[in-house]
Symmetry: C2
Subunit: 235 residues, 2 copies
């Protein structure tokens, strides 16, 4: 259940500044946005919306990380994507006029803005630069989803795990110690790679034994990206 608290506008402004997509709004539209949007803060574990919900607008992340996942057999989560600072999400359901095809849950305390569908549609309708950016975004996500499909269909768990470690590195970068800037449970990694938790654990230990990574609880440090790349590049 989502615990929301209203926040001062200051953080909100912050959020919008993070996202380059709103640069394509006119000054007037931008002002309108700061007026209509509402900003909330979320804790790890909070649900932004559930699969099957009707989504009444789009979301923009000012701070934090969320995962987008579908719930499958026995409630097993399959993560299809992450969003982080500056990313927008929810537009897929809004634009396709369908209910949400994924659930969105916070995995790192976040501050997220909500913009009602009406305004969003207005901008898309009247601002072709903005609408072009949105289109580009959805097409990019579609390309990534297609890649995901063939990865899961044809690569081994070992290959996929190597690939997703690199993807996390690319997406979230590292802190000053070289650790990945995202903290996932083994179960979440399993839900991302599409495998069982135990398999993730075994393969991570294997990678560690081969000096490809370092492990310190949920901290993962990638030591040998080149070799990981070699493992996942089987095509």
């Amino acid at each position: 259940m989502s615990v929301k608290k209203n926040e001062s506008t200051t953080i909100c402004e912050h959020c919008v500044h993070q996202s380059d997509i709103f640069r394509y709004l006119t000054t007037e539209e931008y002002e309108q946005m700061t007026y209509v949007k509402s900003c909330n803060s979320y804790k790890r574990g909070d649900i932004v919306y559930h699969e099957g919900n009707r989504v009444g607008g789009i979301y923009c992340i000012g701070k934090g990380i969320v995962k987008h996942y579908k719930t499958g057999i026995d409630g097993k989560e399959q993560i299809v994507r992450f969003s982080k600072k500056g990313d927008i999400f929810g537009f897929r359901s809004v634009l396709s006029e369908e209910v949400a095809c994924t659930s969105t849950k916070v995995i790192e305390d976040a501050s997220i803005c909500f913009i009602p569908v009406g305004n969003f549609f207005d901008w898309i309708k009247h601002n072709s630069d903005f609408s072009m950016r949105i289109m580009k975004l959805s097409c990019k996500e579609l390309g990534e989803a297609n890649q995901y499909i063939i990865d899961i269909a044809q690569k081994s768990v070992r290959e996929r795990l190597a690939e997703f470690l690199l993807l996390l590195l690319d997406n979230f970068g590292t802190d000053s110690d070289g650790n990945l800037n995202i903290s996932l449970t083994r179960e979440e990694i399993a839900g991302l790679v599409g495998t069982a938790t135990e398999s993730v654990i075994r393969l991570l230990s294997e990678f560690k034994a081969d000096n490809l990574i370092e492990l310190e609880r949920r901290q993962i440090k990638i030591l040998n990206a080149k070799q990981l790349k070699r493992i996942c590049d089987v095509f």
Copy 2:
């Protein structure tokens, strides 16, 4: 390699009429389209474009069926989608300004129109109804791709095969004999389901033995859709 022949405009007009997306063009734009588009006919096996190609426009199918696939390990095809009469494709690469993320090959003799990217962009820029439709389309495909991911990640081959048979039924319908209106090799079905050819054969025979389907070479007739639905609906 793609064998193309120019066709009379008559068939071309035909093609555009099939697609409801062009109804959203203004009369002027529509006229422009009939002027700039070029129509070609393709035989089964012809390639429209390869994964990694730069795509210079969008395609619209007047007749026939194509498959969109990625090539993986050992050249094994993973089909991610089909397009048929009235569908447009190629816009993903165009809009995301990336190279094609899939190859497109004809699986039923087809007549396909090509519309250059320049005109397409013009319409999107100046016609918000049209651009909205395109957006809706790409978001719908994104939702389907997400579903595909969790299916492949969590369902058994048996469940997926049942699901894809129903999906083919839904997409292509049946002829007067009740056979699916699409003819795929066992290998293509395997590439769709994400499994080995032999597994497809064994499971199809199983379904046949259970009187769920009838098989006559590449003709597949679905006898008991309800039971197939029960097999694939494990979530």
